[in-house]
Symmetry: C2
Subunit: 209 residues, 2 copies
Amino acid sequence: MENNAQNTEDRILEAARTVFHRKGFNGARMQEIATLANINKALLYYYFRNKELLFERVFNDTFSQLAAKIGDILMSDMPLMSKVEGFGNLYPNFISEHSYVMQFLINALQDRPERLRDIIMKQNINPCLFLEKIKKQLRDEMGIDMDPLHLYVNLLALVIFPVVARPLLQSIFSLSDEKMAMFLEERKTIIPVFFNNAMKGYEKDKSLV
Amino acid sequence: MENNAQNTEDRILEAARTVFHRKGFNGARMQEIATLANINKALLYYYFRNKELLFERVFNDTFSQLAAKIGDILMSDMPLMSKVEGFGNLYPNFISEHSYVMQFLINALQDRPERLRDIIMKQNINPCLFLEKIKKQLRDEMGIDMDPLHLYVNLLALVIFPVVARPLLQSIFSLSDEKMAMFLEERKTIIPVFFNNAMKGYEKDKSLV
DNA sequence: ATGATGTTTAACCAAATGGTTTAACCAAAC
DNA sequence: GTTTGGTTAAACCATTTGGTTAAACATCAT
């Protein structure tokens, strides 16, 4: 009984995740979520009082899950460049299964930027620690003293953007699905190289000062 | 009279742009567009038969405008690195006025990827020419022989991502609006440097081969 | 058996929203 | 001065959609 109940809640959440991720809050229909979860609307509202609450739950779950994965990599004791590589792999892998995650998060926050503040507090995640850690590793491992935020955003950009803008890029450059998949696969090696090269440049800069 | 009419159509389009850009197709309300354009709903439908048509018009206009600006830079005769710099400036400037443009385009294409194919054909824009040009400049100016698509996507990523993900980044790293504005401003110089450094790395690679 | 919990069915409601219609108004063009 | 096209006001319609309700049923624990 409880087992089955838990199962239903999970099925609802999974369905809700799928629909919200793909269509956002406004595009999603409660009926669609119910159908996908193999239940009827009444039961859906029996588990989650309303659309907002369900959406919030999905948003929180999604963000926490992604944040945990990123945190694992960034706070580990790997050398910086291994982290960069790990990052390049994590994301395309993660989103091959959850391909709309990032888009979803960005849009949800565009609508209501205050959404994150609460859950970042509740969660024990502190993104600024990431930056400290990166800064320290930069100094210790490569002798570079620079703003870690720009560096981190650069990395995020290189990894995330091509996936988020995928349909745009595919249309503009007439890439078939296979070619696009190959392109994204190539980036797993291209990004670390690109990043590494850029870093070496900063080392040189430093020796000039 | 005609003058006034033209004026009304423009006002409608401007209002529609604003609302669609910020809220997307599903989030936008025809009444809101009418109100913003200072007309009533009847007149809105008198000018544009329905929501879809109006949206399509806005999408086409938006894409063409952005494509033209990008094309101007990429197809000019500037050296590659000046283009990179021009790019870093173009985008934040363009979107300080139209800050939801990219988000809007990405979402619209997520919904219906076929949207772009038609208008790219009609337009005399050929994005693949960009790539050829870049590839040639890479070879001639820097002696580098590599896939220009990755390079171009890298540049787009570095420039566009921080703006699109702005609310996400601001929340995560608790940046005030002023700090975030400063951060984006800094990137105008940081991106070219980063990019330049990475390029130098490829030159070295080549000399090793 | 009884009662609590999960579940379905199906009807229902209210509000929002895309879209239409009609009559009247106004300004300029003829 | 009449026609014409842009414009308004206001009512209206059909549909979608978020959300509710009530009755019946299944299952399991006690």
